[in-house]
Amino acid sequence: MNEEIRAEWPLYEVFIRGKRGLNHVHVGSVHAPDGRMALRHARDVYTRRNEGVSIWVVPSADIIASSPEEKDPLFAPSGDKAYRHPTFYEIPDNVPHM
């Protein structure tokens, strides 16, 4: 088979809003020649049973992601800030509604 025909349709990541009031959530990916077709394919592959009311597709190559190696610099600092959580504060039992 000639090499040009082997060219693959680009990959798009698919996000679905399950119902009104919820965020779009990543569900998987589809290949498509362009964004419009990616939407069609996402509809066929990921919403055959009323799983969604809205779809986003994003070219996978355009996603900027943190690296697992950055886990500590990015997320460790929040680990020792217990005072950001309500349970850090002791309130007597006789104080209502708090």
Binding site: M1, E4, I5, R6, A7, E8, W9, L11, V27, G28, S29, V30, H31, P33, D34, M37, D44, V45, Y46, R48, R49, A65, S67, P68, E69, E70
Partner: protein, 325 residues
């Protein structure tokens, strides 16, 4: 970011995550053998869904009623969807969709041996739903907790849809069992043909399944082939009784002591010969998939050319607009 972290440390982190039954995600470091094993397993699973469309798709044009046709169409469409969920998961491991398709067509990657058996009448649609999808459910439910995140998430999606497959099959067979003597005989004949191949779907016995121990240590598999096969037999016997059919196994009987059914062994020589390509339909299944792939080449190419043209036209229109300002 530098990747200066030493391999032993990365491996220790990986083992710790897997040991805690936590999930590995695509960008995490993973041993090359883990990646390879997963690509092999997820790809084989995806190929099975795609090839699995053929035995039943064969009957869409000959459905006995509009109701059955709508059901079968939806089912076969689901199999396509399941294949695509799984290809999507496999691609997060760094292999492309084209590579996967070519590995299937060239016979370098396998698919489940069950799909190399023919479907001889519409009854087989019912039997496949009941026994083949039933066996698939037994295999797939534990995989929802597999250690590789995208694979587990695809399995959750698939399991939600698989129950419809099994129930429509059982209902089809029940309908036939309420019919004529001839129809009941058709059901029994179909069940006789599919019982042993369905048991083979769980793979070779544990003592000749070399990959199982490592896959379990990595949390890819959580049960052995024989455990799952036993579970399937235990589930299926009361269903067969309710349906009014028997399984073609003289050794099948309840074992009070074990609390499980005893059963005979499938013909493992037949299993290996089908895996190696000598089943009744291997050549036909692959030839059909290859034809669909080759015949679709111009569509893939034309859609890409059209998309490029649209993008180009969009850019030119934008440039013209900017020039006018």
């Amino acid at each position: 970011m530098s990747s200066a972290v030493a391999e032993p440390q990365l491996e220790a982190e990986f083992e710790a995550i897997v040991g805690h039954k936590d999930r590995i995600e695509p960008r995490d470091w993973m041993p090359e053998a883990y990646r390879k094993t997963l690509i092999r397993q997820v790809a084989q699973h995806a190929h099975s869904e795609i090839i699995g469309m053929q035995p039943e798709g064969n009957w869409i044009g000959r459905a006995p009623s509009l109701r059955r046709k709508a059901i079968l169409l939806a089912k076969v469409q689901d199999e396509a969807g399941h294949g695509l969920y799984l290809y999507s998961a496999a691609e997060t491991l760094g292999i492309s969709r084209n590579e996967l398709t070519e590995l299937l067509i060239s016979g370098k990657q396998k698919y489940s041996s069950i799909f190399n058996y023919p479907t001889l009448s519409y009854t087989d649609v019912g039997t496949i739903g009941w026994l083949v999808d039933g066996a698939a459910i037994c295999n797939q439910v534990p995989l929802c907790r597999t250690s590789f995140g995208p694979y587990g998430r695809a399995m959750i999606r698939i399991c939600k849809e698989e129950s419809f497959h099994q129930r429509q099959g059982f209902e089809l067979l029940m309908t036939m069992m309420r019919g004529t003597e001839e129809q009941r005989a058709m059901v029994q004949e179909s069940v006789n043909r599919f019982w042993w191949p369905a048991l083979m779907m769980f793979g070779p016995p544990d003592d000749s399944s070399p990959n199982t121990a490592q896959s379990m240590a990595w949390g890819i598999k959580t049960h052995t082939n024989d455990e799952l096969r036993q579970k399937f037999v235990d589930m299926s016997v009361p269903q067969a009784e309710a349906l009014g059919v028997t399984f073609p196994d003289p050794e099948l009987r309840w074992n009070e002591e074990r609390g499980h059914y005893d059963f005979g062994q499938p013909d493992w020589d037949e299993f290996w010969s089908v895996v190696k390509g000598d089943g009744p339909c291997n050549a036909q299944r692959l030839a059909h998939r290859k034809r669909a792939w080759d015949d679709g080449a111009w569509v893939r190419e034309a859609a890409l050319a059209f998309a490029e043209k649209e993008t180009q036209a969009g850019k030119e229109a934008q440039a013209a607009e900017e020039a006018q300002r």
